[in-house]
């Protein structure tokens, strides 16, 4: 009996050791999200690495700007309703229709006589007509002065996305260059071979994602095609895991983002410093 007990305990210990080693191995498999979190660009807010925190800060900034505008207009005895953007995250049910536009400040301005309206808009935007499509009749947001109460508010709080906005073209180019990298192309070839083994002919995940859209050119979207496409999407995930495509993309993206940070280091450092300064102002305006 004692011998049986010892055997059982021994077997249990061996199983535990084996499980521990497997789980240790599993926990060491890198995940794309973990790799991306180590990107040097993740240090700089506004570049998509922490959307939730960035958006939360952006909402506070929007409210603070609106309060600054309302205060500035109030100092000139002009009314202004603070209306920060509305955030909608629910899926809107079929059949619902958009409601007509109502901007309370534009509505108020339009109710004024032409001279009063002109004066109102000059105070608010520094220009007589903020709906004039001509570039030279509008306020340039990059200008260090002007723009009325609104221009002043946007200069006071440039915000969490200021650097991303200034570097937008370069940022998009960098993101697109990830897919042109030889390492990603090689991983996509492995993915494509994996897909072929399972009966699907796609050169890259982008080709798969684009396949339904392309089929609309022949107006050939039928239920069978949609089902086939969904099956291919499921297999694509399996193949992606098998050839570590997502991990390769994440690694390449970190490399590209490292180079991006190096090139734009000064701009990004100033962004970080400015955000710290603006945080104090934000705390005062939107505690």
């Amino acid at each position: 009996m004692r011998r049986i007990l010892l055997i059982l305990v021994g077997a249990g210990l061996a199983l535990f050791a084996a499980w521990s080693s497997i789980s240790a191995e599993i926990s060491h498999v890198p995940k794309a999200a973990d790799i991306l979190a180590k990107s040097p660009l993740a240090v700089y807010p506004g570049f998509g690495h922490n959307m939730q925190a960035d958006e939360a800060r952006f909402d506070r900034e929007s409210l603070a700007r609106e309060q600054l505008i309302a205060r500035c207009m109030g100092q000139q005895d002009l009314p202004y309703t603070a209306v920060p953007p509305i955030r909608i995250d629910e899926i809107i049910s079929p059949g619902e229709t958009p409601k007509p536009l109502i901007d309370p400040n534009a509505e108020y301005a339009e109710s004024l006589e032409p001279d009063e309206r002109r004066a109102y808009y000059l105070a608010l935007y520094g220009i007589p007509d903020p709906n004039d499509p001509r570039a030279d009749r509008l306020h340039d947001p990059d200008s260090p002065t002007g723009g009325g109460c609104s221009g002043e508010a946007f200069r006071t709080i440039r915000g969490v996305y200021a650097a991303q906005s200034d570097l937008n073209e370069q940022y998009i180019a960098m993101r697109r260059s990830v897919m042109q990298d030889e390492r990603v192309k090689a991983a996509e070839q492995r993915w494509s071979a994996c897909m072929q083994d399972r009966g699907y002919e796609y050169a890259s995940p982008r080709d798969l994602l684009a396949a339904l859209d392309q089929a609309t050119l022949q107006e050939a979207i039928i239920t069978e095609l949609t089902q086939q496409h969904q099956q291919a999407m499921d297999v694509a995930d399996t193949c992606g895991t098998e050839v570590e495509l997502e991990i390769t993309v994440a690694e390449v993206r970190v490399d590209k983002e490292t180079a991006f940070v190096k090139v734009h280091q000064d701009r990004l450092t100033r962004h970080l410093e400015r955000l710290r300064t603006e945080a104090t102002r934000l705390e005062q305006l939107v505690p």
Binding site: I92, L101, D103, I127, P130, D213
Partner: protein, 237 residues
């Protein structure tokens, strides 16, 4: 009574935050599932003379542009037919975060830049000298997309929008043009020059012929903007 002002405040805030009721500012729509990392600002027309710009019937360019933007963001069509389960039916389903401008043109520029929009698309409909809404001369109309002269990304986005939207718009004279100094418009457009995002200014169709107006108001086509944007950005997911 002591807390009455709190309840009044909450009531006012609630009305302000309900979409489509009371005061409204820009609308930010989150993607249905994972965000693909890109932000699109749709900027509908806000002409002070909308309704008197040659629109057939009682139509209004500003409202048509807003409704088209809304359906590109939230619509239920794919391949130009109703399909409320398609993963390709609108920009949100494709993983984009979308902001629709509802203020002035100046505020659209300020907000698009401050929000860090990656793409900025002013949404309009076109007008010509034609005064006969019943005309059927399709070669006189079509989709026109304008980009900032010298901006290769803007040109590429404009081409995608022209190809995908123009393919279905009833007018057959679809084209892109640069700005400023191309005769397609004499205006140096602020929404192309003062915007940080890659921008393309879309005239979806002409609103001074019934065939065009009816097509714009049909909403079976705005899903095509998602297709164009996906093509431009390489189907990010």
């Amino acid at each position: 009574m002591r807390f009455a002002h709190y309840w009044i405040g909450i009531a006012i805030l609630s009305v302000m935050l309900l979409p489509g009721r009371g005061a409204r500012a820009d609308e930010i729509y989150d993607p249905y599932n994972s965000w693909n990392g890109y932000k699109v600002y749709l900027s509908p027309a806000r002409h002070s003379d909308a309704g008197n710009r040659g629109e057939c019937g009682n139509n209004n360019e500003n409202n048509m542009a807003y409704n088209s933007s809304w359906h590109a963001t939230n619509g239920w069509h794919y391949n130009d037919v109703y399909n409320d389960t398609s993963a390709y039916r609108n920009l949100r389903a494709r993983g984009y975060q979308v902001r629709i401008g509802t203020g002035t043109l100046q505020s659209a520029i300020d907000n698009s830049n401050a929000w860090g929009a990656n793409l900025h698309i002013p949404m309009h409909s076109n007008a010509s000298g034609n005064t006969d809404c019943n005309t059927t001369n399709s070669s006189a109309f079509g989709t026109v997309v304008i980009y900032r002269d010298g901006n290769a990304n803007g040109q590429s986005l404009a081409n995608q929008l022209k190809d995908k939207v123009g393919y279905k718009s009833p007018g057959t004279n679809d084209y892109t043009c640069y700005n400023p100094n191309h005769p397609c418009t004499l205006i140096d457009l602020g929404e192309l020059r003062l915007i940080n995002a890659t921008a393309a200014y879309q005239e979806s169709e002409f609103h001074n012929w019934w065939t065009g107006v009816n097509w714009i108001n049909d909403y079976s086509w705005p899903w095509r903007m998602g297709w164009a944007i996906d093509q431009f950005l390489g189907y990010p997911r």
